[in-house]
């Protein structure tokens, strides 16, 4: 459905998106997770042919976004971070306009507008001015305009931002329902949101992919081990096997002479035992450092942000 390959976008010398590659398959709901400024919106704008990429290719349904933008746009429904709504228009008229703009045949405009009004539960406000609606309703109108032409793919940029908790729950439920009929790529900087809605997560940090997996896969790989980097003045196989025999160490590998990477059981403070062993045997301790996976950092950042939001 969506194939992104080596996508790079630079604003001036600084790349906002740096050699990004990922795929979204048909029928999937994929979450695009990352802190603010990670490059999520930029990537989505390129996907929807609003921004051109500096290099790399993006294909949607086999159509290149640069070569065939009109074909791509026909197949994508886009909800930008700020829903593009004309405040001086009535909801029903606005959706009709969006349908016409997306080249819905005129005989089907009424039925497709009615359809999205029903799906997004906008029946009560159909005749009201968009500017007078609450933020939650505006977000739903934004969602309705994105899907009025029944696109195969929905691209939603931070669909729950700025909503109150009840509205957030409603929108999440709506997106989950939509996921049964559409391929969805949605961005968020809130981890639990993604865990609730998406089947697969792409974590992006400073323009690069930090991790890409199903949720189960990600949590499993995170909690399983703790990694230590160790530099000794002495190397060799017996040092390695000596380290591997420690209770807290699962496996030890020598990356270059005297440099080891240890996989340890989490939560056992393996540094103490490793240091004691090295000093006892006189192997010469140069460096002992827990490797904080950047992925973990990001997760931490994301979870603390969520706490601030809910507090």
């Amino acid at each position: 459905m969506i194939e992104v390959e080596n996508l790079t976008k630079s604003y001036g010398p600084r790349p906002a998106v740096d050699r990004l590659s990922f795929q979204v398959n048909s029928g999937e709901v994929v979450g695009f997770l990352g802190p603010n400024g990670a490059g999520k919106s930029t990537t989505m704008n390129i996907l929807c042919c609003i921004l051109p990429a500096t290099s790399g290719t993006v294909k949607v349904h086999g159509f290149d976004v640069f070569e065939n933008p009109l074909e791509v746009r026909k197949r994508i429904g886009y909800l930008p971070e700020n829903p593009p709504l004309y405040p001086d228009m009535v909801v029903g008229d606005f959706l009709k306009f969006a349908a016409r703009l997306r080249q819905v045949p005129s005989s089907k405009i009424k039925s497709s507008v009615d359809n999205v009004v029903e799906k997004c539960m906008l029946g009560d406000v159909k005749g009201r001015l968009i500017g007078r609606l609450s933020k939650g309703y505006q977000q739903r109108v934004g969602l309705a305009q994105a899907m009025v032409h029944d696109p195969a793919i929905l691209v939603l940029d931070e669909p729950t931002i700025g909503l109150d908790p009840i509205q957030i729950i409603e929108i999440r439920k709506l997106i989950r329902d939509l996921g049964r009929e559409h391929t969805i790529l949605l961005s968020s900087h809130i981890l639990p949101e993604v865990t609730q809605i998406c089947q697969r997560v792409v974590i992006i940090h400073e323009g690069r992919i930090a991790a890409m997996d199903t949720l189960e896969g990600l949590t499993a790989s995170l909690k399983k081990t703790q990694r230590l980097d160790l530099a000794l003045r002495q190397g060799g196989d017996d040092v390695r096997s000596g380290l591997a025999e420690l209770d807290c160490v699962i496996s030890a590998a020598e990356t270059s002479s005297g440099k080891f990477t240890l996989e340890c059981h989490p939560g056992s403070h393996p540094q103490d035992e490793v240091a004691r062993l090295v000093l006892d045997r006189g192997w010469g301790l140069d460096e002992l450092r827990p490797v904080s996976l950047s992925l973990e950092d990001i997760f931490l950042q994301l979870t603390t942000e969520e706490k601030e939001v809910t507090a």
Partner: protein, 255 residues
């Protein structure tokens, strides 16, 4: 082209729903009527005079003495009003962040530009049309020639098209509507009076400056003449500025 009309239709709806349009329409029609009324009453005064003093030998022509100056005056008032209509076309989309809606739709950039142009020209045409009640009034009581009236209106609309093209272009440059309006007014005004420099410029340069002036090309139209050079001037003027708008919008995406 269909997409351009879809966009134009939405724009028109939004203009006619906004109070700004009705304020502008009121002011425009008020001033236009006041000017036309003065011209007309001076004409009727002259008619009385001529009836009393036969030997003055004035040829009184309602086309030349009433309708033609009214149309030129209308060009001046439109010069003041059109920046207020065109200023929002792109600036507001950018400020309200609604532009992605158009950009993410299967619509060509030139269709967006054309849609905005058609909408603004449509709004101003409504104003011009509304002011023509005055001609209807003259038609009812006098017998002016129809031909020059029609060509005169065509000329005014073409000139308005030039105003709009500049206005849409200025609006694509900034998300600040006031800045867009000031740029439009300044530039259109300059194109009006650029002919003034012709007298002191050299022979060739003077001719070029004269040709560039927006208002010089209106005179032929108001006198009932459709000269292809005037027509070409107006149409290429419009096309040039719409092309610039297209380029500006395209380059915005690359920044």
């Amino acid at each position: 082209m269909k997409n351009a009309l879809v966009i134009a239709r939405r724009e028109l709806g939004s203009y006619f729903a906004s109070p700004l349009f009705y304020v502008i329409a009121t002011v425009f029609l008020g001033i236009q009527s006041f000017m036309s009324y003065n011209i007309l009453s001076f004409f009727s005064y002259q008619s009385f005079q001529e009836a009393q003093i036969q030997q003055m030998g004035l040829t009184l022509n309602v086309n030349e003495m009433v309708i033609e100056p009214s149309l030129i005056n209308m060009g001046v008032i439109l010069l003041l009003m059109s920046p207020l209509i065109t200023m929002r076309s792109f600036s507001e989309e950018m400020r309200q962040k609604t532009f992605p809606l158009l950009l993410a739709s299967p619509v060509h950039l030139w269709e967006i530009v054309a849609g905005k142009f058609i909408a603004c020209l449509g709004v101003l045409s409504v104003l011009v049309l509304a002011s023509s009640y005055f001609v209807g009034f003259i038609l009812a009581v006098g017998s002016p020639e129809i031909g020059p009236i029609l060509t005169g209106y065509l000329g005014v609309l073409l000139m308005t098209g030039c105003y709009v093209a500049i206005g849409v272009f200025a609006s694509s440059l900034t998300d600040n509507q006031l800045v867009a309006a000031v740029i439009t007014f300044g530039f259109v005004f300059l194109m009006w009076i650029i002919g003034w420099a012709a007298q002191s410029a050299g022979e060739t340069a003077g001719e070029i400056l004269d040709y560039l002036s927006l208002v010089n090309h209106l005179q032929n139209f108001t006198q009932g003449m459709i000269d292809t050079s005037d027509l070409t001037y107006y149409l290429s003027f419009i096309a040039f500025f719409l092309f610039l708008t297209y380029r500006v919008l395209e380059s915005r995406r690359w920044r």
